[in-house]
Symmetry: C2
Subunit: 411 residues, 2 copies
Amino acid sequence: MASSTTTSGQMHRVTDGSVHTPLGFKATGLHAKVKRKRKDLGVIVCDVPASAAAVYTLNQIQAAPLDVTRESIAEGGTLRAVIVNSGQANAVMGKVGVADAYEMRDKTAKTFGLDPRDVAVSSTGTIGERVQMEKILPGIEALQPEATAASSNAFAESILTTDTCTKETCYATEIDGKTIHIGGVAKGSGMIHPNMATMLSFVTTDAAIAPEHLQQALSEITDRTYNRITIDGDTSTNDMVLTLASGKAENKPLHPGHPDWAHFIQTLECVCEAQSKQIARDGEGATKLVEVNVKGAPTAEDAGKISKQIVGSDLLKTAVFGTDGNWGRIICAIGYSGVTIDPETIDIAIGPHLTLSQSEPVDFSEEAVTAHLEQDEVFIEVDLHIGDSSGKAWGCDLTYDYVRINAGYRT
Amino acid sequence: MASSTTTSGQMHRVTDGSVHTPLGFKATGLHAKVKRKRKDLGVIVCDVPASAAAVYTLNQIQAAPLDVTRESIAEGGTLRAVIVNSGQANAVMGKVGVADAYEMRDKTAKTFGLDPRDVAVSSTGTIGERVQMEKILPGIEALQPEATAASSNAFAESILTTDTCTKETCYATEIDGKTIHIGGVAKGSGMIHPNMATMLSFVTTDAAIAPEHLQQALSEITDRTYNRITIDGDTSTNDMVLTLASGKAENKPLHPGHPDWAHFIQTLECVCEAQSKQIARDGEGATKLVEVNVKGAPTAEDAGKISKQIVGSDLLKTAVFGTDGNWGRIICAIGYSGVTIDPETIDIAIGPHLTLSQSEPVDFSEEAVTAHLEQDEVFIEVDLHIGDSSGKAWGCDLTYDYVRINAGYRT
């Protein structure tokens, strides 16, 4: 397990922590030779039946593994393993795709001595290509999961597609005087406009919590984290966030009436937000993370909707890439977000620099705004002055590399 | 007037026709020196009070000229002139922007001997920059409109921003045995995702029609034409389609009970669709026009919504740029369009080549699909097999040049 310096009751980040850090979990990934060089097959396993919760893409076209995973979770609400391949999405493959997803599940169950209903299946990659079962099945047999940072990192590598880096996080805190850990691994990059999902994220914890309460926590947090990132406005067919809780921290089971429930939610949200920001920062072709914070909105939902509309605007994204403090594109996006606003009361700041006050242009320093936009984290803050709620969203810039990557991804 | 070879009752395109072709209209454009070299100020005038109809952007942030135009049309439903500047959008400029728009209207009225309420005002360009009145006002005085193809073309040039070409169309037909003409000039390029509008389009006709019936026709047609194009998903603050009818063709006034009403609608739609396709083809950085036709939908509205979702997908647009027959991105967009579909009954063709049949991949020739995608007009056809309605949408590819243009547009 990674080093950790717990302060009682205080949430803190665990250095080198990942999905193996919570007690009971092992992971690994390997190169099954579907991709030319990079790892393409990974697994997370749990020593005990783990409470499971998941959220799935809202795209009506859903890849076969999502149905198989739903079926596994429906059986008792627990899981022991999740198998993931990258390269082929196993989406829109008709009956053969469903059969392949079941075969991946069966092979994983047999390899690790589990019931098929203990196994979730997840795929990411090109839509409409068949999973290369002749490579994946022997690959599953060769997987040897461990509880080390290196093996979690191998898993994190194995689920990447056009991502340029692995995405891992771990936080620890105390619940009932017991230390609990929450670790996460994610992939993102393209076709990212969760509604929900459009990416994969796997979160493990050793907290004790029943499946229904874990689902409640995950659903609530997803709306404020994974559902607030956008790379390109495309909602994928394959994406899911899967959370597994081993209970090995031996806290009293968490539920909404537990005195530490809010604290647990806060810690889980911290992991999910960190994952979301890592996905946004590594958007296809991205050079910058963009965070938009909308304040003064009638509801948190409205604030989130406007934040996401701004961060998803191609014109804003190209302006950020070009370090152009073009606030006109920000107010334009506010105006077409679908939320009723007052056109006369809007403030817009880029970094610490106010550019619009009460909907009137402010005489600001272009140089100072450009300097902020040259940073690798860009902050945009909007105050609507029509309410007390706020909400954030995350995205990235739109660059030549986004076009290059997607003009040539498949061929 | 341009040459025309009318076949009785038959609609046909008028070679070199434009907004000056319908009887009663003159136009021109000039270089008021706001832009470095290109024309930046234009006017259309009518000899008589013309029935006027307009549709405006649905963005809640609306530029000052839109309110001024609304006010002019509200006074009696007729107009005699529209003045247009390009370079500054006169949007989000507070009180000074409103005053500038009124001053442009007053100056135009005075120059052409009209009442201010006879004049519409339109602006396009950068949001949050003040119109350079010291150049625009003398420019208005210098405008000398004529009824020639050259002067209409000067107007068409004067309203462009990042457009690479002028957009003009004219159709003629017979109504009550009288020849009527409908001419149009448009600009588009960026911030184009009409809902309505997000571009400028000016349509003139010499047909006789009352303002309320012209408005009815325009609103109906806009939903199937201008509202079906998308360049980048951004809905602008400035856009409008303005239609003026001089009545000089001397047909019996058109209305929904007129025997030629459907024929008039068809002719007007022809002009509006031609304008829309020209805007889509000249999207910022675009190299190709993409037309998506969705069939077998429950309603025409559903078909249009799905068509527009497909044509607006950044991933599809980059695939078209890269001539990659990636139908997975098409079905993905179908799945998140918000319209309820049957995931098992979808056909997708790229050009004449079927790639997906009843939601199962078809073994197609990649070379043949790539060859179609190399054309400068790309056709995508979807059959949902769940109804009898169809609808089209138009867009363009997403290229390196879109990023280049928008990363550097303002600075």
